[in-house]
């Protein structure tokens, strides 16, 4: 099997494994399904361009999230969008089905997204990546560009804030 074929297979495996997660990550940040879809595609196109330029990817998951983070920031700068809770609620954003069967631990999708987005920027990302995407502090550090220790502290503080908000 030639190198091109191997790289293609690896790339497509990564797409199959991480497309949903990348899409979810984008959607939480841009609140628009079409945009999130476009961004997801762009993430993988950029990833392929990176490979075509002759470079190797060691950790696909972190690599894809890094690209996604940068694209989301570029997108927000271009559109001058301020992502706020008010915008979220006004546009009727409804990311998940309500599952009323779990009444005792029930939090509907909309409130979940609202709650996590109510956290400050520096807490939102590490908390989301840790508890939704099951990433380790080391992986999160690679994506966000800060040390593992800082990531662990932010996760701890972010979770504390989140619990307080949910109790209110």
């Amino acid at each position: 099997m030639d190198q091109d074929q191997m790289q293609k297979e690896k790339f497509l495996e990564s797409y199959d494994s991480y497309a949903d997660a990348i899409f979810r990550y984008c959607l939480i940040r841009v609140y628009d399904r079409e945009k999130a879809r476009d961004l997801t595609q762009d993430v993988f196109i950029r990833a392929w361009d990176y490979i075509v330029s002759g470079k190797e990817v060691e950790h696909w998951k972190a690599f894809l999230y890094r690209i996604a983070t940068n694209l989301i920031i570029d997108n927000a700068r271009r559109k001058h969008e301020l992502i706020s809770l008010e915008t979220l609620m006004e546009t009727g954003f409804d990311p998940g089905k309500d599952d009323r069967s779990h009444v005792d631990d029930y939090i509907d999708g909309q409130k979940a997204v609202a709650a996590i987005n109510d956290l400050g920027e520096i807490y939102r990302e590490p908390v989301y990546l840790r508890y939704v995407e099951d990433m380790s502090p080391a992986e999160i550090a690679e994506i966000t560009g800060v040390s593992e220790n800082v990531v662990s502290v932010r996760i701890h503080r972010g979770l504390y804030q989140l619990k307080r908000k949910l109790k209110q």
Binding site: F11, F44, V52, G109
Partner: protein, 395 residues
């Protein structure tokens, strides 16, 4: 707390979405393969098409070498096709390969709409370039007409699809932009006909007639979309404050869009100032000033809560700014000066008495058409920002 985070796991791409993106990526991978490590890239190997001609050992076969040289000299098939015109050898590559890849990557309504408009603009610019080169032969006219019709039908299909999907806003924007684009090109072709010798008028006639027919179509579509939006607006559940609130929101959104467009065109004009004639640049600049004045007028209407009027003025400002950019782009590309409608009127007035007496009935009819089109562009639709974005599909 675990259940809280579990909520997010339900957010996924729908099967169809995932499959479509995968297909788009596969097409992208086909067109952008990885270079084998063993084969060093020489300076003269400009195109990835070389990988098709390599043996297992990484050496070139003799026929492949010859073909490869031809391709290299032509700068690579795909890249070389980009600037080709109808009748050129590589023009089919441009249409069937390059543009198909772009279409595959245009995911999402707005991206599809933008690409469709861009391709329509390409088709018309190709026609104008051929006209300037006095190369618009009869046999090419049929090809040009066919391509134009295909693109026009695609655009109409897109608009109808957006309407059916409830995306009235996108449908409205697309039909308004199409209208503006066609009118600019109609004007340019009319000017080319007047200015350039060696153009066979019969060949241009056919194309101009097609464009005018499509302008009429675009205007009919505008009216249809407007009627639909108004019907939705006057539904039993809408109260007067609701309607007013949405009209204000729509007008403000249109103001933001017009201001963004004006800023974009201003940057464009400043960047192109040294590359175009002073005459062209001043003309485009004057058109942009016209757009700015329309915004000021619209803002005055906003303050008096005349939201519908304000919306129309902002819409016109947007289209006028776009037209300023298009004119400059096309003049630069064709390397000709195309006077604005007002300048043309001034020149008409200074024509000799003999020329006035020589005006044919057809000349008079053309001017009537222009007046009618101007009036119709004032009856542009109201774009209401529908409440809420598309709901997400989740499992």
């Amino acid at each position: 707390m675990t259940n809280f985070f579990k909520q997010f796991k339900n957010i996924k791409l729908a099967d169809q979405e995932r499959t479509k993106i995968r297909a788009n990526l596969l097409a992208y991978l086909e067109n952008n393969p990885v270079r084998p490590l063993k084969i060093a890239r020489h300076n003269w190997q400009r195109s990835s098409i070389f990988s098709l001609f390599l043996t297992r050992e990484g050496t070139l076969t003799m026929p492949a070498l010859i073909i490869g040289l031809i391709i290299t000299l032509s700068g690579g098939i795909s890249a070389g096709a980009a600037g080709s015109l109808p009748g050129d050898l590589l023009h089919p590559i441009k249409i069937n390969v390059n543009e198909r890849v772009k279409a595959a990557l245009a995911v999402g309504s707005e991206a599809e709409a933008d690409l469709a408009l861009k391709l329509m603009d390409e088709r018309l610019q190709e026609t104008e370039q051929l006209a300037v080169k006095a190369d618009l032969k009869t046999e090419l006219v049929a090809k040009v007409d066919e391509r134009f019709t295909i693109q026009a039908d695609k655009l109409k299909g897109l608009i109808a699809r957006f309407e059916a999907e409830g995306k009235s806003e996108v449908a409205a924007k697309l039909s308004a932009n199409l209208n503006a684009l066609l009118k600019v090109h109609e004007q340019i072709l009319a000017q080319l006909r007047e200015k350039l010798a060696g153009i066979d008028p019969a060949n241009l006639d056919k194309i101009q007639t097609r464009i005018r027919a499509e302008i009429k179509n675009a205007e009919d579509i505008n009216v249809r979309v407007e009627t639909r939006v108004k019907a939705g607006d006057q539904s039993a559940t809408s109260t007067k404050p609701d309607i007013e609130h949405r009209a204000e929101a729509a007008a403000r959104a249109k103001l933001a869009a017009a201001e963004n467009k004006i800023a974009e065109v201003e940057r464009f004009l400043n960047a192109k100032k040294d590359q175009v004639t002073a005459e062209s640049w001043n003309r485009a600049s004057a058109k942009l000033d016209e757009a700015k004045n329309l915004v000021v007028q619209g803002q005055a209407k906003l303050e008096t809560k005349a939201f519908v009027e304000a919306f129309r003025l902002f819409q016109k400002a947007h289209v006028t700014a776009q037209a300023a950019k298009l004119h400059l782009l096309i003049e630069h590309r064709l390397e000709i000066n195309i006077p604005d409608r007002n300048e043309r009127d001034d020149r008409d007035e200074s024509k000799t008495e003999q020329k006035e007496l020589d005006r044919t009935d057809k000349d008079n009819h053309d001017e009537d058409d222009e007046d009618r089109n101007e009036k119709n562009s004032d009856n542009e639709l109201i774009e209401l920002k529908l409440n809420g974005k598309t709901k997400l599909e989740v499992r």
